[in-house]
């Protein structure tokens, strides 16, 4: 019984939302959206839709019995647009029919008239016009203004980073079933079951206990189902509740790409000052975040950009300003890294430019400024148990940096039209939700009389392997075979008030909660064993490898016998536990605090090959030394590492989201929006687990993986830049991601021909 449903997946038996068998007579919903980026809705005529055969009902904002609001922290997002629309793809109406096809045809038949209003897509314009999602925020330490004078070199400029479409292979999907009490059960592909529950209750005007949300598993999430799975679940729920019939809503790929938000594009202005030795003294950065039309998670994402503005480096004087701009694009949202990658990219660009100014290699500046114990982050947190330098040093030695550099130099000397580049990418990523209250989770553990175990937690399995890790935790605490342990689906009826499975916290929060619940049961079992054996104190009882020992001596009791005996002894074999990350806090008035339980550290060496005639780049190798703590599940962690790197490289070099001048998505299919395929992955990915890396706050001394590996992808950009410089040292290379072959070529040959 593999918890990651390994056998189910290879047999095709794993049931995703769209695979589930539904009761007979279930209906299908489809959505009519706005074709205008900003405008007044003059009229919405649903009669033509009702005339389509097989249509049951059309719902608009007026049919919402509760509050037409899906916003999270800032309540600025209607489920269905009312008098105004704010982006192309914004839902206006839900059509329910006997087939998905009929519903879609009817949705298209709805007559919508919208009077266009001026639309903004550009962050600078939004800022100039005061179109902001929240007031700007500033994190600062030291005194930047007075520090510039001490600097030998000051560089400044602008960095653009592109958007990124999630392309979870399973599109957004949900179905809802009315309950006999007048409530609703929703099965949703969401990372945030409790958020779906809250919003559905709000939309329907019901108490939350009348809404049950269950998540079987996700076919990928990556943040795209953290906040933006809610809408579709709420629409299915509204339709099911109103019609008293099961309703399914599954977006097509095209709908998913056009209706949902993506990674936030950033435009950032930076200024970096260094002394003659390459110490970074002062850094000033302003992040202009393109939030899209509504807040969604933008303020939180921007906050993480501010937290990670200085990445893995100690810089005494820092001023980081974050400006979340409201534009008329679909609301951008969480995507692996949550604003961190955008921030890291800016500083690495600044370092690259500073290295040119100082006449040194970027890696020299990087290495000189790495964090160590005793340093502090600009938001006041002390750096403790820092392994940044260790990771760097091990990477240098283990992957023989000097030899690698020499090989690259020799290769570049031999080849006129092909060049290689090598870059190092140190990363530092804080682990915890930066909204402190979210750092809690629950676990509910049932031991059955036959010795099998069922566990429910707040965690949603989406391929990140959280269930495997929780199973491992329970197996260790009980000291039983993992096969005995099953991870249940995630349900709001079993665990209340769950945080989203996000911020890389799933394994830690839910692992700790599971550990506590299992420990409760173990204590009760030891009591029961002591009572049964009659001559030992409970603390002398030990369960080891499915057997029960008393004072180190084997007894006749096994796990199964003990469980059975405890049951007849009327001992509770269920336990619920709650975990809240200790010692974290953050004051949003002063922007100071200690928001993270710990940090993930690591360093990657990235090697790129450039075809200087075609501008095409391949990543030859990504070699990583990463601090996994004491890895809880090396196989899962390795997969997370490799996958994160592939996604990060895709963001930097390949994936390009484009809109037309009217805010319509141009890259709206997988033929025009390219994600990495088997040809575009790095030629080699080596991962070294840093040794002796216990991590007390993590579950069983481990560190979580999840988001941090994505950051190594940024190294690919700079490896490519190194190769470009090897070909043309005077090239003026814009700091703009993704660095597509086209951009490469235009930078290598400004105005002239390659042949």
């Amino acid at each position: 019984m593999e918890p990651r449903d390994v056998f189910l997946h290879v047999r095709g038996e794993a049931v995703f939302v769209d695979d589930a068998l539904l009761p007979a007579e279930h209906l299908f919903a489809a959505i009519r959206t706005s074709h205008v980026a900003h405008g007044h809705v003059r009229s919405l005529d649903i009669a033509p839709a009702m005339a389509v055969p097989g249509i049951y009902e059309v719902f608009t904002a007026r049919d919402i019995p509760g509050e037409n609001q899906v916003g999270k922290t800032i309540l600025d997002e209607p489920l269905l647009a009312e008098s105004e629309v704010h982006f192309v793809g914004q839902p206006l109406a839900i059509v329910v029919g006997e087939s998905a096809e009929a519903a879609r045809r009817a949705a298209r038949a709805i007559q919508v008239e919208i009077d266009p209003l001026p639309a903004i897509y550009d962050v600078r314009q939004a800022f100039a016009e005061g179109s902001l999602i929240a007031p700007p925020r500033t994190f600062s330490s030291g005194d930047v203004e007075s520090a510039w004078e001490q600097c030998s070199v000051v560089v400044s400029g602008t960095v653009e980073s592109g958007s990124q479409e999630h392309v979870y292979m399973e599109t957004q999907s949900a179905f809802a079933l009315p309950t006999d009490r007048g409530g609703v059960k929703v099965v949703s592909a969401t990372q945030s079951p409790s958020m779906v529950q809250l919003v559905v209750a709000r939309i329907l005007g019901l108490p939350m206990h009348e809404v049950e949300v269950e998540v079987p598993r996700l076919g990928g999430g990556f943040g795209g189902k953290e906040d933006q799975a809610t809408h579709w679940a709420a629409m299915a729920a509204l339709a099911a509740w109103r019609l008293k019939k099961p309703v399914k809503l599954v977006l097509t790929r095209h709908e998913d790409m056009t209706m949902t938000g993506k990674r936030h594009p950033y435009l950032s202005d930076y200024k970096l000052g260094l002394d003659a030795e390459g110490h970074m003294l002062a850094y000033e950065v302003t992040f202009y975040q393109n939030g899209g039309a509504v807040a969604d998670l933008s303020p939180a994402i921007l906050e993480r950009s501010l937290f990670h503005a200085t990445n893995a480096y100690a810089i005494p004087h820092v001023k980081a300003v974050g400006i979340s701009c409201r534009t008329h694009l679909p609301p951008n949202t969480a995507f692996r890294g949550f604003g961190g990658p955008q921030a890291l990219f800016v500083l690495e660009c600044a370092i690259f430019k500073a290295a040119e100014a100082l006449g040194v290699e970027p890696r020299e500046i990087q290495k000189r400024n790495l964090l160590q114990d005793g340093d502090a982050f600009p938001y006041g947190a002390r750096v403790e148990r820092c392994r940044q330098r260790r990771c760097w040093d091990v990477a240098e030695q283990k992957y023989n940096l000097q030899a690698g550099l020499k090989e690259v130099r020799q290769y570049n000397g031999r080849n006129a039209w092909r060049k290689k580049g090598l870059a190092l990418m140190p990363i530092c990523f804080g682990i915890s939700f930066t909204s402190t209250f979210l750092n809690q989770a629950g676990a509910f553990v049932n031991v059955y009389v036959d010795g099998s175990v069922g566990i429910s937690t707040s965690a949603v399995e989406m391929g990140q392997g959280v269930n495997a890790k929780i199973q491992e935790v329970a197996a260790r605490i009980f000291s039983i075979r993992p096969e005995r342990i099953k991870l249940e689906t995630t349900s709001t009826s079993r665990i209340a008030n769950m945080p989203p499975t996000a911020a890389s916290t799933g394994a830690d929060l839910n692992g700790h909660a599971t550990r506590l619940a299992c420990l409760d049961i173990v204590e009760r079992l030891k009591d029961a064993a002591a009572r049964c054996l009659g001559k030992n104190a409970p603390h002398e009882i030990e369960i080891r490898d499915e057997a029960v020992y008393a004072s180190g001596e084997a007894t006749e009791l096994t796990w199964e016998k003990l469980v059975n005996l405890a049951y007849f002894d009327r001992v509770s074999l269920c336990a619920q536990a709650h975990c809240a990350t200790p010692d974290i806090f953050f004051d949003r008035d002063t922007n100071k605090g200690n928001p993270f339980a710990y940090y993930a550290y690591g360093t990657a060496l990235v090697e790129a090959s450039l075809d200087c005639l075609r501008g095409t780049c391949s990543i030859d190798a990504v070699r990583v030394v990463h601090d996994f703590g004491r890895s809880l599940h090396p196989l899962v962690d390795l997969g997370q590492m490799e996958g994160g790197i592939v996604q990060g490289v895709g963001w930097m070099l390949l994936e390009e989201v484009m809109h037309d001048a009217d805010g319509r998505l141009l890259t709206d299919t997988l033929a025009t929006y390219k994600i990495p395929d088997i040809h575009s992955i790095p030629g080699e990915i080596q991962v070294h687990f840093l040794e002796d890396a216990e991590n007390p706050p993590g579950i069983f001394q481990s560190k979580t993986v999840g988001e941090p590996p994505f950051l190594y992808g940024i190294g690919a950009y700079f490896a490519l830049l190194q190769a470009m410089k090897a070909f043309r040292p005077d090239a003026h290379i814009p700091f703009s991601s993704p660095m597509t072959p086209e951009k490469v070529l235009l930078a290598l040959y400004p105005g002239d021909r390659p042949v």
Binding site: H9, L21, L22, A24, G639, Q647, I678, H679
Partner: protein
Amino acid sequence: MTQKHEPGECRCSRGLTRRGFLSTVGAGVAVASAAGKLAAQPAASQGADVLPSAEMTPITLNINGRTHRLLVEPRWSLLFVLRERLGLTGTKVGCERGECGACTVLMDDLPRYACMTLAVEAQGSEITTLEGLMRGEELGGVQQAFVEEDAFQCGYCTPGQIMAVEGLLRAHPEPSQEEIQMGLSGNLCRCGAYVHIFKAAGRAAQLKRGQ
């Protein structure tokens, strides 16, 4: 604001659907009942040249060694028929435009996109889906290799990846690195498990050769 259609008066045109029959009687029975309904109709359509759009057309599909007779519209994709009519949900929907590979099946041993194949055109071919790779309760070689090499994360693209490898190995029992790459180039994995999928293809070749 909306006029109410009672289900009774709804102009419903649907025939059997997955949920319609599976939730009541199960797939095996459904096939039989579908075949029963067809008994009164002219025999198989393989001799017919015209399949009119307005009518449901009887077709015969050979899927995983079993013969299924069912009614389809000419415009239905094989993917739709597999999932929504026959309940074979191991074949996944990823893009429905031949761009992701989640719906890969074999037709006469060749991997194809079920979303881009008309069901009427799948007649006469031996269709193999992921469900058809099982040897009783035992995993097929490619499935076993995917388990051994941990060749997935979320699992959604996995059925398509496995079918692509199965097709590759049927054509090239000892594939080169390049052949593996070419064989997998029509299948996307957003979790980025490519390194492991690549290894699984190699391992599957070994397993299939009995090593």
